[in-house]
């Protein structure tokens, strides 16, 4: 019987960790976008991922549309949900505080989960992978083609977001809201509109995460909560509000989980991830890439 060398085992753990970590990173980026504009954590972020997966299943499997059409359709549907979330749950809050917004998103997450249960039922759904199920063997480790897609989409999301925030007026306006909402509205930026944009944007990124992970892990209506917790950990590790930090934090948590499960004990893999989180927060409370000055002036 073939024996697997330690080197190829290690490589396998790293590939697995980076794949899962990429999804955590996408969730973390979604958290950051909304946090930067509203200073609130959107607890329905995991639900965007779940919706991304299930809506894609609807377009791709039920309606049998090709990926090229179903992908943008899915993203638009989930973006619409994000916009509705802002319109229905966030904007009507009379005196928006961080706490009331957080509570509204928690309520919304329960609602979305319940609605998804009614629409799709409780069974998990599968999505055909973008390019076949035959794994690529590389130095004794098996790589699913879908893992490469996950990584590719993460890179694309990061590049597009960087251009958006650095090069476009709207991106700059969003960043201005993050720094100082009252000053931004004084110079003519519509802060409420920016909040809407931030929800749409983070819904879109959540949807992409759901679309690319579903062919690997299946998707069912209550998967979102776990992804939100992991994504939030990634956020905290990297420094809340920091985009490179979100990517770093996500991949780090994915790697710790995978290596911890493989090399030490699979029963305690979540413990390793949370221990790392605690350690980092003890040593550097603002997160790996977060700045202490910025976190001081933040409300949350």
């Amino acid at each position: 019987m073939e024996h697997m060398t330690l080197a190829s085992q290690l490589l396998q753990y790293i590939i697995t960790g980076v794949t899962i970590g990429s999804i955590y990173a996408m969730v973390a980026i979604g958290f950051n976008i909304i946090y930067n504009v509203t200073e609130a954590i959107n607890f329905a972020q995991g639900e965007f991922v779940m919706l991304g997966g299930l809506v894609m299943v609807f377009f791709r499997v039920t309606l049998k549309l090709p990926v090229l059409f179903s992908l943008p359709l899915t993203i638009s549907v989930v973006m619409a949900v994000g916009i509705l979330l802002d319109r229905i749950a966030i904007r009507p809050i009379r005196k928006p505080t961080v706490l009331s917004m957080v509570i509204a998103t928690i309520g919304a997450s329960f609602f979305i989960r319940g609605a998804a249960m009614f629409i799709w039922g409780k069974n998990p759904f599968d999505l055909p992978p973008f390019s076949g199920r035959n794994p690529i063997t590389f130095l004794g480790a098996a790589i699913q083609p879908q893992s490469l897609w996950v990584l590719g989409f993460l890179v694309a999301v990061v590049i597009v977001l960087t251009i958006f925030f650095d090069r476009t007026i709207m991106g700059k306006a969003l960043r201005a809201c993050a720094v100082n909402p009252s000053a931004s509205s004084l110079v003519g930026i519509n802060v409420k509109y920016m909040i809407l944009i931030s929800f749409a944007l983070s819904a879109a990124i959540g949807a992409i995460g759901g679309i690319v992970i579903t062919p690997i892990s299946l998707m069912e209506y209550d998967r979102g909560a776990m992804l939100a917790v992991k994504g939030f950990s990634a956020c905290a590790v990297g420094g809340i509000g920091n985009f490179p930090g979100a990517v770093l934090g996500g991949i780090l948590i994915g790697l710790i989980e995978s290596l911890g499960a493989g090399l030490i004990s699979s029963g305690y893999k979540d413990v390793f991830a949370l221990l790392a989180l605690l350690l980092i927060l003890f040593v550097k409370p603002s997160g790996l890439l977060g700045s202490a000055e910025v976190s001081k002036i933040r409300k949350f």
Binding site: T5, Q12, S217, D222, A261
Partner: protein, 399 residues
């Protein structure tokens, strides 16, 4: 002050309205029931929604199907069967509340369910104290065993699903027959996985099994490649996976993707739904698992004692609900049918139902032929499982 004065009077108004409504209902209810013979009320608690909805949903559907069939045939000795079903949402507090409600408010004569072992354990004190027969649809042997050392059974608690130990024995017996002795375990870190894992570890020496790896994962994990990679490095002859829900499909896919099909994979009886084969997208070929008769009714030989009863259930269920049967609905079928059999024989007396249940022998159900006794409130043996293998996207009897 004005406010304080008006409030009590509004309260009084509501109270008197409620009182009036109650009086009217009380006056009406004897009139309604005078027409037909008193209905036999049986309570049921299932996890219809929530984390274990894949158990509770088919259980509820099956119970309703049986109720309809029984009442269409004129009920039990002329008494219609009235099922009162509550959803515990997979939560033990809600489960205990539901059981109390069934006992105190609905005044049922027996309770079937709950769906989950943990929940079933939490209602034992309630049913024992209230002296009401409870036929559980959850698997753990602890549900019926008061004292594991002496094997003493809880007086009022019965269960219909096979115990995990029977599934483990069926798997180990099959492995031994095929010369497998070096195995790895993967299990989900929930009650289901932990119970199966401890049985796998406990019974391994008896069947001469060496366990080279013992890996775990979470119920919402997205990938088990790391665990399987570790196992691949140990090169065992077979893997036993113990989980339910999406993880048991993901583990199969990872096993195939990592090119580990030369290591045989066994799944627990929780794999017993064709949905899982479909979700595995071709990766499930060659997977072994122990299943009860109702999962494999079509492929059972014609002379099998359960052939008739399982075929009838499968046909009725698929016709009514247009979805395939799962093991879990079968457990509810067994539980309710046993209670109905007792009601037919002794009427709605709780103590008599209990005594009758304890002495049922040779009852042909969906998951086996039940032989209850004061020492065995489950009534099944490892023969209640058949080993099957996935072949061409469907179950086939394994040799």
């Amino acid at each position: 002050m004005a406010n304080m004065k008006t409030r009590p009077s509004i309260g009084k108004g509501i109270a008197s309205l409620i009182a009036a409504a109650v009086t009217v209902t009380l006056m009406l209810s004897p009139v309604v029931s005078a027409h037909a013979a008193q209905a036999y009320k049986v309570g049921a608690v299932f996890s219809v929604t929530g984390r274990a909805s894949f158990l509770g949903d088919p259980e509820k559907k099956t119970a309703l199907l049986l109720q309809e069939e029984i009442n269409k045939k004129g009920g039990i000795n002329g008494h219609p069967l009235k099922l009162i079903i509550y959803d515990d949402k997979g939560d033990s507090t809600q489960c205990v509340i539901a059981v109390r409600k069934l006992i105190n408010r609905d005044k049922v004569c027996a309770i079937i369910g709950p769906s989950l072992s943990g929940l079933s354990l939490s209602v034992i004190p309630v049913v024992q104290k209230s002296k009401i027969p409870n036929v559980s649809c959850a698997a753990s042997y602890k549900i019926v065993t008061k004292n594991p050392k002496t094997g003493e059974q809880w007086k009022w608690v019965f269960k219909t699903p096979q115990s995990d130990s029977m599934a483990v024995e069926a798997i180990y017996t099959h492995m031994k027959k095929h010369g497998i002795s070096r195995i790895a375990i993967t299990s989900v870190n929930t009650g289901y996985g932990a119970s199966g894992r401890s049985e796998l570890l406990r019974l391994a020496p008896r069947y001469g099994m060496t366990i080279v790896a013992d890996e775990k994962y979470g119920p919402k994990d997205t990938d088990m490649t790391a665990q399987l990679t570790k196992i691949k490095g140990m090169s065992p002859q077979a893997i036993v996976n113990w989980s339910i829900g999406p993880t048991q499909v993901v583990v199969v896919r990872n096993w195939k993707e990592l090119g580990m099909t030369n290591i045989k994979m066994y799944q627990s009886h929780g794999f017993g739904s064709r949905k899982n084969i479909k979700l595995a997208a071709g990766a499930a070929e060659g997977i072994y698992c122990p299943l009860g008769a109702c999962n494999i009714a079509e492929i059972l030989p014609a002379n099998h004692p359960q052939k008739q009863v399982t075929m009838a259930y499968v046909k009725a269920y698929t016709e009514k609900y247009n979805e395939p049967v799962s093991s879990f609905g079968g457990h509810a079928w067994d539980a309710l049918s046993l209670v109905v059999k007792a009601l037919k024989a002794v009427g709605p007396d709780k103590a008599k139902i209990r005594d009758y249940l304890e002495n049922i022998r040779g009852f042909v159900g969906q998951h086996g032929v039940f032989n209850f006794s004061p020492k065995d409130h489950n009534g099944l043996s490892k023969e209640a499982f058949r080993m099957v293998v996935v072949k061409k996207g469907d179950w086939a009897l394994a040799d």
